[in-house]
């Protein structure tokens, strides 16, 4: 490979890294935001276990968002200004939500007992606000910030569907990490969240080609459509398997991890579909990744750091999940 083509490859590599960070963020913060949104349905004792189950992880989970936005900022500075300028208000609302959720983690156990309820409510409200804002942003982004009556409607649909997906993710996490009554309830929650999540996914899959001509062309041209059909088919199979699994008692036994893994598969597939729709644009129909990218020199410097640190990050993330693996125990006051 000569130097020119490597320089042209750099934006593609960083787009891939940014996508990977965002995917890891949506999956990992997805489950803990989901757990947050389920808080108001739980008893006080259950709330403590739910928070304990995500306590060691949420910091690192949120850091993937910083990395994703960081790569957007650093590798695609022109897109960063454009995207965040368009999403000014939902970004602010999401940040308020994430802030409230993040601080409630610590405040709820350290404040006076009389204030604990307030922080629990803020934990729920922050999780919900951040999830809805992210759904809206995703909807606006995927449709290339189009104007017209159908675009906000589309974004609103995703603003409902994404939180539902997070709730399902959170419930699956609890099925995996808890036992007894709470696990039982988590199965119920997952069953309730399944239908709206699937409905939202179908709706989005149908609406995306409708709002964007570029995507329509991508999806419905031969022979690509045959290869692409694998994505919705596998997605559908995973979701049906999940629904069937939630109806059996095995889900509370040895395969309690399976719903969570199936959902990860759904998220990864959805992400691949999205990536296929949008590439090579960083803002659909407006800005390609090469138009938005920083200079090759700057990207190379960053790439060196990335190659060293991303494996290290992966290493200690695995370590941390190993340390805290297994079921989250009951709260016992010493």
């Amino acid at each position: 490979m000569d130097m020119m083509s490597f320089d042209a490859m750099l934006p593609v590599i960083f787009m891939g890294l940014m996508g990977f960070s965002m995917l890891v963020y949506v999956i990992s913060d997805g489950y803990d935001l989901g757990v947050g949104m389920l808080m108001h349905r739980a008893t006080d004792a259950e709330k403590d276990v739910m928070v304990a189950s995500i306590g060691p992880f949420w910091d690192a989970n949120e850091t993937w968002l910083v990395l994703g936005v960081g790569i957007l900022l650093v590798a695609f500075p022109r897109a960063h200004g454009l995207v965040l300028g368009e999403l000014y208000l939902p970004v602010a609302l999401m940040l308020v939500g994430l802030t409230l959720r993040g601080v409630a983690f610590d405040f709820r156990v350290k404040a006076k007992d009389t204030h604990k309820k307030t922080w629990d409510r803020l934990f729920f409200a922050g999780s919900a606000l951040a999830s809805v804002a992210q759904g809206w942003m995703l909807g606006r982004y995927v449709s290339g910030f189009g104007t017209g009556w159908n675009y906000p409607l589309f974004a609103a649909a995703i603003a409902v569907a994404l939180p539902m997906a997070y709730v399902l993710m959170g419930a699956s996490w609890l099925i995996m990490k808890t036992e007894g009554e709470l696990q039982e309830r988590a199965v119920q929650w997952a069953r309730i969240a399944w239908a709206p999540m699937v409905g939202g996914l179908v709706l989005i899959s149908m609406a995306t080609p409708w709002v964007s001509a570029t995507v329509r062309q991508r999806w419905f041209s031969l022979p690509e459509i045959i290869a692409l059909a694998a994505i919705p088919l596998m997605c559908g199979a995973s979701l049906l398997a999940l629904r069937a699994l939630l109806g059996t008692r095995h889900v509370r036994g040895p395969v309690s991890w399976l719903p969570f893994v199936l959902l990860i598969a759904v998220f990864v597939l959805g992400f691949l579909g999205l990536a296929y729709s949008i590439y090579p644009y960083v803002v659909l129909d407006q800005l390609t990744i090469w138009q938005a990218a920083s200079s090759p020199e700057a990207l190379k410097v960053l790439l060196i750091g990335t190659c060293i640190s991303v494996p290290a990050i992966a290493g200690y993330t695995v370590f941390s999940y190993r340390v805290f693996r297994g079921k989250t125990g009951e709260l016992k006051y010493a």
Partner: protein, 473 residues
């Protein structure tokens, strides 16, 4: 109000709010490591009370660290977005320089802290002492590394070096020159010392409050001693480094110095203004109280040294009023810290490190100084950041040229209000929770024991050694 002013106000609200928390966590990480070492050393000795005291100190202050860290993370995330929402032109122009510095901060530091924080906070008993100790070390190291990258970028914006401009876009010529730009060593040292001092007074203040309220842990007398000693040692060093930093600024950003000193016309033997109200309209000072020649003496080390006045930098100098007052607040706070820590150490030593023999007035003074580090740090950042105006990169790029044109003034005003309300609530909550923790420290440790019980089980099959194994003996 126009969008530029609102965007600046929003950033000026968010940055100081964010810096409050890293200022504590940078040094607190290392102090936790110190408590840990003291406990590990004491626990095999005969002095059980001493061992328990250091362990309690570690546990109590880990709680403070967790809370502080959480606030730092959430406000830091806000910042990473506001670069794009408020200053898109900044990254478009200097993205090739600022980008990798910010990127390395996230990649090397942010993840290190966040990844090991879980193990540090909840892993006690789940991993070996050695692994837990290493996790604590990585968290402390990560916060310091984070400060390194961010201050490299900020210093580059103050004293840019190692760059070249091609087609209006900034490119890197030498990374060494970019990172180790002229003001970086001073600013980094100044900030790390500021963090140490902020922590020292936080330790001192909350321990004094515990002792005053009569609910003190066994650790409180020890932590009080650590806090006072660290403060007493660091404050003279800080005054010395601050002076060097000032001389460096005089060399590279003379307009900032002129604003700090309230000097309008270039003069020899410039006086030190103890008080004045600089008036940017009439370009003179009202109600000035001066000490002749002292400003020249401090800045040039000569009684008749020349200092350039603001009039030399028409349209290229910062608004003097906020810079002038912020500087006096910072220096004044430093002097108070010097007095408190030196008198404190002297009296505490004379009381043979027994807090019950200390005058209560001293404990009240210490409690009153709990957040003095915050005041000094924020004032210092206002000096350096407002002092750089009207530029975002000193001498090269004006702030007005990089502001976002996308959101309307109304939209920025709305989100500004939202952030201000949120930050006010969070600061009140943070301070009152610290106060509550200092009043009921036993409760805090009990909750911690319960949290540890609630974290996942599965130690028996763990590949790492259980706590208290031979790893450390």
């Amino acid at each position: 109000m126009d969008a530029l002013l609102l965007a600046r106000m929003q950033f000026a609200a968010n940055i100081p709010f964010h810096i409050l928390f890293p200022t504590i966590s940078i040094a607190l990480g290392w102090l936790l490591l110190f408590f840990r070492v003291r406990w590990l050393r004491a626990r095999h000795g005969t002095d059980r009370a001493s061992a328990q005291g250091w362990l309690d100190a570690y546990r109590f202050w880990t709680k403070v660290f967790a809370l502080t860290f959480a606030l730092g993370v959430v406000s830091g995330i806000t910042m990473s977005f506001q670069f794009g929402t408020n200053w898109p032109g900044f990254m478009e122009k200097v993205g090739n320089i600022a980008g990798p510095l910010l990127g390395y901060e996230v990649l090397t530091a942010f993840f290190l802290e966040a990844g090991f924080l879980g193990v540090m906070l909840f892993g006690h008993g789940k991993v070996s002492e050695k692994v837990h100790f290493m996790a604590t070390f990585f968290v402390a190291f990560g916060t310091t590394l984070s400060a390194f990258w961010i201050l490299a970028l900020n210093s580059w914006m103050q004293t840019p070096a190692g760059y070249e401009i091609r087609d209006g876009v900034y490119h890197v010529r030498s990374w060494i020159e970019v990172i180790f730009n002229p003001s970086f060593p001073y600013r980094f040292t100044h900030m790390v010392l500021a963090s140490g001092l902020t922590c020292a007074f936080l330790l001192t203040g909350l321990s004094a409050w515990q002792l005053l309220r009569g609910a003190a842990l066994r650790s409180a007398p020890r932590v009080l001693r650590v806090g006072l000693t660290v403060g007493a040692v660091l404050i003279p060093v800080q005054i010395f480094v601050g002076d060097l930093h000032g001389l460096n600024t005089l060399q590279h950003q003379p307009a900032k110095i002129a604003a700090m000193e309230g000097i309008w016309k270039t003069e020899r033997g410039a006086p030190l203004l103890l008080f004045a109200i600089p008036d940017a309209e009439q370009r003179l000072n009202h109600f000035a109280i001066e000490v002749p020649h002292v400003a020249s003496l401090i800045l040039t080390h000569e009684l008749d040294g020349e200092i350039k006045g603001l009039d030399e930098f028409r349209d290229r100098h910062p608004p003097p009023l906020p810079v002038f007052f912020a500087f006096r607040v910072m220096v004044g706070m430093g002097m108070l810290m010097l007095a408190t820590s030196w008198v404190g150490v002297w009296l505490y030593r004379r009381a043979r490190w027994q807090p019950e023999r200390l005058p209560r007035a001293l404990l009240w003074l210490c409690a009153g100084m709990t957040f003095s580090g915050w005041v000094a740090t924020v004032a210092g950042w206002y000096v350096t950041e407002i002092g750089r105006q009207p530029f975002v990169v000193h001498g090269l790029i004006r702030t007005a040229d990089v502001v976002s044109t996308k959101p309307t003034a109304g939209m920025i005003g709305l989100t500004l209000t939202l952030y201000l309300v949120l930050y006010a609530v969070l600061i009140v909550a943070y301070v009152s929770v610290l106060k509550y923790m200092a009043e009921k420290p036993e409760d805090v440790l009990q909750v911690e024991a319960a949290e540890e019980a609630a974290t996942p089980v599965g130690v028996a099959t763990s590949p790492v050694l259980p706590a208290g194994s031979a790893a450390w003996t």
